[in-house]
Each structure stands twice: as structure tokens, then as C-alpha cells.
């Protein structure tokens, strides 16, 4: 160990001497490259801002104002978090979700910090570092694939989901129950399908369970109302707290809707 350290010290010593003898001054040589690159960066940023303003390629300038109560929400982070977000789809709620939310990111961070102490060899040539190169390629590939999957994951908007409510009512056989139909509408409008699926509608992006037959266990409307109002009380810390969804009647309707959802007839 001490010999390896001496070698590294001697090598760095020689690097210093090499640079002193044969190096070039930072200004103007390297600084020229840096300046050109910086101008490119600023131009790209300005270009993106202009494209954002004058075309719709980069999305809207803003979504509607935040409304904690209802309406359609699409819980999407900025694109550079897609790779982390997609992990939540791989590690499903509730058993392994912790791996996707905290586990894997923490492990990756630990590995990154520990990297210089894991790889102690002096060797820097790529062809002599097969493990490092393969690891780099795999990391880049998996981040790329996860980002792409996150970006293309299917999500439905509330307006589209609402139109499916009559079909739901028919297939699940609660057309004659006005409270359940009202609850189903609310369910569609409140953005529940951004995390949950119901009869194939919605998104399982975040690993939340399918609710098609959630009422099968006959827990009753009260149980579901309480659960949606405050999932914390049931040990669910990922699902948002919805309170009474605007009114006591609303939260009751949601409960009725979920309790009669016993799967397609």
C-alpha cells in the first residue's frame, strides 16, 4: 500500500514537471476554448428560451394555477428527474417502493462518492479500464432508457378520463347508484388516474395500485372515504392527503364509488 502511494506521488511529481516544461499557459490557449464553449452555452440557453416563447415544441409557458382541491393534475417532475421517477414504476408500492424512492438513489450517491477510493490504480487509459468503461456505458444507457420510458409513459388527462365514467358504471354495474357515479366523476377529475389505473384507464407511473376491484374486500364506503381523506392514518405516506375533496359529500361519494368497485361484471 505504501509503495503504491509512493508511486502515485512520484507520478504526480513528474506530471508537475512535465506540465512545467512542456505545458502551455492557460491564457490564451485553453481560455480561448473555454470562451468559445461558454458563448455556445449562452446561445443555446437563449435559443431554448426563444423556441419556448414562440413555438409549442417545448411545452406551454405555464399550466393552470395550482389548485390543491380538484381538477386534473399530472404529477410530472422536470425531465431530468424522469429516470428517478421511472424507478417508482419498477419498484411497486408498497413493498419495494422504498428501493425506488430512497434506496437506489442513495446507493448510487454512495458509490459516486466512494469511487476514487474503490478505483486506486494509476491506470487512466480507457482500453486498460474495461470495468470502468462498461460501468460508464451501462450507467449512460440505463439513465437514457429510464428517461425515455419516463417521458413516454402513458398518462391520461382528466378530461379524457371523465368520458370513460359511463363505461365504468356499466361494466362495474353501478349505473343505478348516483352517489357512486358522482364519486366516479370526481375520481376522474381529481387526477386519481395520474397514479392509479381503473379498468385500464390511468397511469401506473408511480406504482400506485390498480383500483378496478378495490372494493372486493367489502371494507365499506366509510373506510375508503377515510383512506382518501388521510392516507397517513393507514400508514400510506406516498399518496397525497386529499382532505374532503371540496365537501363532505364529495369525499363520501368517492368512498361509495370505491366500495362498489368490485371488478367488471
Amino acid at each position: 500500500m505504501s509503495r503504491a502511494l509512493d508511486e502515485r506521488r512520484a507520478q504526480f511529481q513528474r506530471y508537475k514537471e512535465d506540465v512545467k516544461e512542456r505545458g502551455k499557459p492557460f491564457y490564451p490557449y485553453a481560455m480561448f476554448h473555454d470562451t468559445v464553449m461558454s458563448l455556445v452555452v449562452v446561445s443555446v440557453i437563449v435559443g431554448l428560451a426563444i423556441v419556448w416563447k414562440y413555438t409549442s415544441m417545448l411545452g406551454p409557458l405555464y399550466a393552470p394555477k395550482a389548485d390543491p382541491g380538484t381538477t386534473n393534475f399530472v404529477p410530472r417532475p422536470d425531465w431530468y428527474f424522469y429516470f428517478l421517477f421511472y424507478l417508482l414504476r419498477i419498484f411497486k408500492w408498497p413493498n419495494s417502493v422504498i428501493l425506488g424512492t430512497i434506496g437506489i438513489p442513495t446507493i448510487l450517491l454512495m458509490i459516486m462518492i466512494a469511487l476514487p477510493f474503490l478505483d486506486l490504480r494509476r491506470e487512466r487509459r480507457l482500453l486498460r479500464r474495461p470495468v470502468a468503461v462498461v460501468a460508464a456505458i451501462l450507467t449512460a444507457l440505463s439513465m437514457g432508457v429510464l428517461t425515455y420510458k419516463g417521458a413516454t409513459a402513458k398518462e391520461s388527462l382528466a378530461s379524457e378520463v371523465v368520458s370513460a365514467v359511463p363505461t365504468w358504471a356499466k361494466r362495474e354495474g353501478f349505473s343505478g347508484n348516483p352517489q357512486a357515479v358522482a364519486g366516479a366523476k370526481l375520481f376522474a377529475q381529481s387526477g386519481c388516474t395520474a397514479c392509479h389505473t381503473y379498468l385500464g384507464t390511468g397511469s401506473s407511473n408511480l406504482g400506485a395500485p390498480d383500483l378496478t376491484a378495490i372494493g372486493k374486500g367489502n371494507q365499506g364506503a366509510k373506510f375508503f372515504s377515510d383512506y382518501v381523506a388521510n392516507p397517513r392514518a393507514f400508514g400510506n405516506k406516498v399518496m397525497p392527503v386529499f382532505g374532503n375533496l371540496g365537501s363532505a359529500q364529495n369525499i363520501r361519494n368517492i368512498g361509495v364509488f370505491l366500495s362498489v368497485s368490485k371488478g367488471p361484471k
Binding site: Q11, K20, H33, S38, V44, W52, K65, A66, P116
Partner: protein
């Protein structure tokens, strides 16, 4: 040279320019520092890939400047945040450009951090004696991502709000610390005025301060340890056998040592 004598006028002019620089140098040594920074030697074979670090710094400066301007118009309060964003985008002179640059500069900043990191990794530039600088870089990456997370809520639109709801809940799943962290980020049981003010403060005071400080340390270490040359050549990659010096080891703990690193 000697026969081309400078006119008295020109001499006076030069003295007038040099005098304040001399004054500053004598009292601070800053001019010498800048000269050292500019004229320090870097390996002759450094290439374009090694501009990614300074490109990332440029993106950060863009974020800082546009962020300061946005802070002059933005109101971190749920009742007026959304309106102030609309005001910036539609009414303020070139406000759309400043906001657009901040919005997309964030993406560029994060992409560049990853590219810069990939370059350092492939060049093996995290190896002795640059381990500490790699760790500082990882911390900068993490703080940069947190900037993205906290900034995303500020427009107070639907996307922002619900992404943050889920993001905070994800933090909440962490064992032991999770619930406290989630509670701290929300500033209460629900996302509301306190959350927005908190995110704003973290986004524009705490994190940028930490990032700026770490960038300073990062650059100090780059200048102190020198720029790594690309690992193409055997010589540059330093892979051949090296006979360690016969003399005893040098290090801070060795008696008579002058410093931790060979100079």
C-alpha cells in the same frame, strides 16, 4: 528597442493605469493571484472535452444572473406567485426571455454537470490526488438537482404543485429521517404558503450559496492540482513503472515535511 523612447505623455498614461493595479497588488496580492491563474501551465494536449467544466460554470452564472432579475418581480406567496409569473412572462420588458433562460438554463446546467462528470470519469481524472475534487463535484451535482426540485414549485401552477406533492412524499418514505424531512420541506402538514416561502428561500439563498462556495473550492483544487491531460498516450496516462524515490515518504505527518503534496 532602446532607441524607441516612450514619450513623456505616454509614460504618464501608463503610470496612471498601473498605479491603481500596483496599489491593489501591494495591499491584497490579488493581481498576482489573477496572473497566476491566467498564466499557469496546463498540459499541451488538453482538448475541447475539457471545456465542459467552465461551460457548466457559465450555465450557473446565467442561472444566478437571471435568478436575481426574476427575484425582483417574483412573489413567493400562493395568492400572488402565479400572477407574478404571468406578469413576468407577459408584461415585464424581456421578462419572457429572462424566465425562459432561467427555466431552460436549469436543464442545460444539469446536462452539462452530467457531461462534465462523464468526462472526468472517462479521463480517470478522479484519481490521486484529485479524489477530494471528485467528491466536491458529486456534492455539486446533488445540490444542482435539489435546485431543480425546489425551483420547480415556484411558478405555482398545477404541474409544479403536484410534482412537488409527490416529490415531498417520496422524501417522506425514507426510513427514520423521511417524515421529518417531509415535514420540514412542507413547513407543516400540508403544502401551502409556508412551503412556497421555504422552497423559495432554499432555492435562492441556501442552495446557491452552498453551490457558489463549493464551486470556489472546486476551482481552487483545479488550479492547485493542475489539469489532467487526456489519457490517450501511454506517457500522459502515467501507466509505466515508476520507481518511487529512495528517500523517506513525504507527508504532513512525517517529521520535516513541508506539505502534503510533492511540489
Amino acid at each position: 528597442m532602446a532607441n524607441r523612447k516612450k514619450s513623456a505623455r505616454r509614460q504618464r498614461l501608463e503610470a496612471a493605469i498601473v498605479y491603481p493595479l500596483d496599489w491593489l497588488e501591494e495591499r491584497s496580492g490579488l493581481i498576482g493571484g489573477v496572473r497566476y491563474f491566467l498564466f499557469r501551465k496546463v498540459p499541451a494536449d488538453t482538448n475541447w472535452m475539457q471545456t465542459l467544466g467552465s461551460a457548466t460554470l457559465t450555465a450557473f452564472i446565467v442561472q444566478a444572473v437571471t435568478g436575481v432579475i426574476l427575484a425582483m418581480y417574483y412573489k413567493p406567496d400562493p395568492n400572488s406567485a402565479y400572477q407574478s409569473i404571468q406578469h413576468i412572462t407577459n408584461d415585464v420588458w424581456f421578462g419572457w426571455l429572462v424566465r425562459g433562460m432561467h427555466r431552460w438554463g436549469a436543464s442545460v446546467f444539469i446536462i452539462l454537470m452530467f457531461f462534465h462528470m462523464a468526462r472526468v470519469f472517462l479521463f480517470g481524472a478522479y484519481k490521486y490526488p484529485r479524489e477530494l475534487n471528485w467528491i466536491v463535484g458529486v456534492m455539486l451535482l446533488a445540490l444542482g438537482m435539489l435546485e431543480g426540485f425546489t425551483g420547480y414549485l415556484l411558478p405555482w401552477d398545477q404541474t409544479a404543485y403536484w410534482a412537488t406533492v409527490v416529490g415531498i412524499n417520496i422524501n417522506g418514505t425514507a426510513p427514520f429521517l423521511g417524515p421529518f424531512l417531509a415535514q420540514f420541506l412542507r413547513g407543516g402538514a400540508e403544502i401551502g404558503p409556508d412551503t412556497l416561502a421555504r422552497f423559495y428561500s432554499i432555492h435562492m439563498l441556501l442552495l446557491p450559496g452552498a453551490i457558489a462556495g463549493l464551486i470556489g473550492l472546486h476551482l481552487y483544487l483545479v488550479v492547485r492540482l493542475g489539469v489532467t491531460s487526456p489519457p490517450w498516450s501511454k506517457e500522459a496516462a502515467g501507466s509505466e513503472r515508476i520507481e518511487p524515490p529512495k528517500k523517506g515518504r513525504r507527508g504532513l505527518l512525517q517529521p520535516g515535511a513541508r506539505g502534503g503534496l510533492p511540489r
